[in-house]
Every structure is written in C-alpha cells, then in structure tokens.
C-alpha cells in the first residue's frame, strides 16, 4: 500500500458514500472530485448533474467551472438553467446534493456568503449560487471540507444554506421535508448526524488521526461515537483513479493557451 495524503483520504471516503443509483447534484471543487471518483470506480452508472444544466455528465477531467464544455459534450442531455432548477431540483428528482462550505456549524448549516456582518463584511465570499435550494430540495445532503478552526465554527456568520438549523426537528419546523445534511467527510474523519439532536458526530477517524487532532481543528466541542472506528484506507484502485484524474485535470487547466482574458 502506497502512502496517501489527508485530502486524498477525504475525497475517497466521500466518493464511497455514493451509489450507482444516486442522482447527484455536484458542487465544484472537492465534491466534484469525489463524485467523479465514485463514477470511475464503484458507481459507473451514477447520474451526475451540474447546475449549468448538464445531466448525466461523464467528464474525463474535472471541470474548472460548473459549465466547462466537456460537461455538456459528455452529458446525456443539457437543459436550460430555469428548467434545471424547476423541473429537476425543485421537482424532487435528485437524491443527493454534494456541497462544500467556507464555514460550517455542528448542525450542517453552511455559510459561503460573508465573514462578518452582511452589510459590512470582513470578507465578501462568492455567495450561495444554487446552494440555498440544493440544501432543501435534494433528498439528502453530503458535505465535504478540510477542517480548520476558521471553517468549523460554533456559530456561522450567515445562513447561506440551511442544514438542521438549531438541531432536533428544527428543519421540519421550517417547513422543509427533505432529510438534509446526512454525512460530513473531512480530511480527518467521517461524521454522521446524531439521530435525535442532529449534531454531527465523528464515527470514524482516518488512519493515523487522533481525537485530539480532530478537536484541534474544530471550533466546537466534538462528539465522538461510542463505537468509533478507523476509516478504511484508500485501495490501490481508488488512489490510482483519483491521482490519474487529478493529473489529467492539471494538464488540461495548467497549459496557458492565451495571455489575455
């Protein structure tokens, strides 16, 4: 077994959560890598959807944006953006929404809008894009992000997309009928929501990671499952698939074709 990085472990652990039957709304970045590793390994028939309107896409390299040409060229079909959000997302035809986060709290609420007050932000982030409705219309939500004290916080500055709110049945109280955040995969651990409180709880630590390391990179007091396990390390096939994908992607995007924008 060759060695692997914590980011590789995160991507592969996230990929394993997806099945062949899933219809997945893919966020850009780490979620996109995880979804395509799933497609290239154990879930060849998974349906991947990007918010640009591409349905059933099979890109050879990871797209830089949600609308790279290859997503359309390899898709089963491509629909307009109004149709994507009305018929497919709002229509309840998507099983998993796979999101990243700038700030996350223990209940899976996500902020990608602002750090600091909305009207006078310390940092203006890109905002939600499709995420506010992805978070409530997909049957369930998976989240993946690298852990940091800045990212995993006690209280997020802005509710870009609603997870479990204040926990318990808060989601239902807001009139939301879908399951919401159901899995969190970080570079250190795999987390599942507590069935009652909905607080994310560590269920497995990645190989070589300690409880202290997880707590040291998390801004809330971490809960660990009683039967805490170790995440199975990447298999040679998983690792080779991810590395080849990343290599093809770097080659495709790194080449400066033009000097001007």
């Amino acid at each position: 077994m060759s060695s692997f990085t914590s980011t590789e472990m995160m991507t592969i652990a996230a990929a394993r959560a997806l099945s062949n039957e899933d219809v997945c709304f893919v966020g850009i970045g780490a979620p996109s890598a995880a979804c395509n590793v799933a497609r290239l390994t154990h879930a060849p028939d998974i349906t991947l959807i990007y918010e640009s309107g591409t349905i059933g896409t099979r890109p050879n390299t990871l797209p830089l944006s949600i609308g790279d040409g290859e997503l359309c060229e390899t898709a089963l079909t491509t629909v307009s953006v109004p149709e994507m959000f009305r018929y497919w997302l709002q229509g309840g035809r998507i099983t998993v929404g796979f999101l990243g986060a700038a700030q996350l709290d223990r209940f899976g609420n996500i902020n990608t809008t602002v750090i600091g007050p909305y009207d006078q932000p310390k940092v203006r982030l890109p905002g939600g894009g499709g995420a506010p409705e992805i978070a409530t219309s997909c049957q369930k939500i998976f989240i993946t992000m690298k852990q940091s004290l800045r990212g995993m916080v006690e209280t997020i500055d802005f509710f870009t997309s609603f997870g479990h709110g204040r926990g318990g049945d808060d989601r239902q109280k807001h009139g939301i009928t879908t399951a919401g955040p159901s899995l969190l995969v970080t570079d250190l651990a795999v987390w599942l929501p507590d069935p009652e409180t909905k607080e994310f709880t560590v269920v497995s630590l990645h190989e070589g990671v300690t409880r202290d390391a997880v707590q040291g990179a998390c801004g809330w007091k971490v809960r660990f499952a009683d039967d805490l396990s170790v995440t199975p390390p990447p298999t040679p096939v998983e690792l080779e698939t991810l590395r080849n994908l990343n290599e093809r992607t770097a080659r495709a995007h790194g080449r400066p074709k033009q000097k001007v924008a």
């Binding site: 790279d68 905002g127 609603f162 924008a261």
Partner: protein, 283 residues
C-alpha cells in the same frame, strides 16, 4: 425586428446611462466583446443583472460603470473571488455599489417570469436561508390551493439584454446550443436585446429543429463578432480558456495592474481582437 449592425452602433443605440442591463451566458457564451464595447463607450450608472457576474461583471464594476448589481454568485468559477467586485463592496473602489443578492434558482425564475410577462416569480425557495433577511425583495406568498408558503421575487424586466450565440440566419433568427443558461429568458424578458454571434448563415436548414432559436422579431440587433465570448467559450467553435480565468485572479488582485490591463486590452482596441484571441482554442 433584428437589425444587423456594427457592435459600436448596436451598443450606442440600445444601451443608455442609467439602464437596467442584463449580460447573460452561464459560463458558456458570455458576451465579453459586447461588455468591452459598453466599457469603451463609458456607459454610467448601470444596474447590472447577471447571475454570476464573472469576469465581465468584475471588469464593468472595476471600471466604475455599475451603481447596482443584481446577482446570485459573485465568484470566478473554480478560481475564487471576484476581486474588483469585492473591492467595490468592501472599499467603495472605484465607487460604492449597491448589491441585491438572490440564489440561482431565484434569478432563473425571475427571468422566466419576465419572459412570461408576469410581475413576479413564485417557487419553493429560501427555506431557512439568510438571504431573505437581508434582501427585502424576497417575500413569501401562500398557495391558495395547498396553503404552502412559497418564495416570491419580482420578475426581471431589463431595459436591454446582451447575449452571445453560435449563429444567426440572414433573416436574423438566432441559434443557441450547448449550455443555454438563461439566455433565451434574458432576451425575452428585456425591452431591447443585442445578440453577438460567431457566424451568419443563410438559414438553419438541416440543423436540429429544437436548437434554442430566438425568432428575428424578438431581437433588436445582431452583430457578428468572431470569438466574442472569449475567455468564456462557444460550443462547436472554441473551448473555454481556463488559463485566462486563472490569470484574471492575478490581474484583478491589484488596482493598477487591472487599470493597465483594461487600457491595453479593452480601451485601446476594437472588437476585432476577439477573433485572434480564440485562434489557438478553435476546435
């Protein structure tokens, strides 16, 4: 009725200071050449509607043309932040801008409602989300049949919309294919529209009959600008210049570098330069 014009005339006759203007193109078919012409003509006090302002929004905001931006994702997709837009929001450089922020679903629905001649869009949105607390334009409505609370936002009715497309026929019908975004809805929601195209052909005979076509009587002006979407792309003609998107992150990070870049690549040149920019990207 579509008029075939130079880009200069099409912009001068359709975009005015103070207008509410939509530039659309969802990653694909972004009308860069048209935006550069608007910058050269020094249009002022615009309200820019654009789902993802992207590089064209960053450039227009950085040049001080925009007083208000209506948007749903202020990022350079896959790269990071829009640094000129951030500088305007955080430091009022080169001027303060008002922002009205929605979600993608909201913007798409608002265009669709505009195209349909409705005053507002109704959809299942913003449940538990923070935007409805900071944007007073996001309201709710109760379904008269089921009692469900739904989100309501005002329809987009821009004065003018700019989009880029693959082909126009000599009659002025417009053909789009690939990632079609909200371009059709943006044009149909607007009072006037300018469509830049890669190519003008005799007719669309022999092509797929369902390619997103805007009939000539829905478009105000058609302009041929080869490469007019660069560094975005035109499916079937040339690919997305991802390296240029990555490079924009560095150019836009510095006010002086940005200003110099705009002078060299926009203010001092004409739309003809776009053909050369896509030469190496052609399929």
């Amino acid at each position: 009725m579509a008029k075939f014009q130079s880009l200069r005339d099409a912009v001068a006759e359709n975009l005015f200071d103070g207008d509410v203007v939509a530039f659309e193109g969802f990653t694909h078919l972004i009308p860069h050449a048209a935006a550069h012409e608007a910058i050269r003509q020094g249009k002022r006090d615009l309200t820019l509607i654009r789902m993802t302002p992207d590089i064209v929004g960053d450039q227009m905001i950085g040049m001080g043309m925009v007083k208000k931006v209506i948007f749903s994702y202020a990022g350079n997709p896959g790269v990071g932040l829009l640094r000129r837009m951030r500088d305007a929001i955080e430091n009022a450089w080169p001027r303060a801008i008002e922002t009205v922020e929605y979600s993608h679903a909201s913007m798409a629905n608002a265009y669709e409602a505009g195209a349909a001649g409705l005053p507002c869009a109704v959809f299942r949105g913003y449940k538990g989300a923070g935007l409805k607390h900071v944007n007073p334009q996001i309201k709710s409505i109760i379904c008269p049949f089921t009692g469900e609370e739904l989100a309501a936002v005002p329809a987009h009715h821009p004065d003018v919309a700019f989009v880029h497309a693959q082909k126009a026929s000599r009659r002025g019908d417009v053909l789009f294919e690939g990632i079609v975004g909200v371009q059709k809805e943006a044009v149909l929601s607007a009072k006037r529209s300018v469509v830049t195209v890669e190519e003008i052909v005799d007719d669309f005979e022999g092509l797929h009959p369902n390619l997103c076509v805007l009939p000539h009587w829905t478009v105000s002006a058609i302009v041929q600008v080869k490469g007019g979407a660069h560094p975005s792309y035109t499916h079937g003609y040339y690919g997305r210049d991802n390296a240029a998107y990555l490079e924009w992150d560095k150019i836009s990070a510095d006010r002086d570098l940005f200003t110099d870049w705009m002078k060299t690549h926009v203010l001092d040149v004409g739309p003809d330069v776009f053909a050369g920019r896509v030469k190496e990207l052609e399929r």
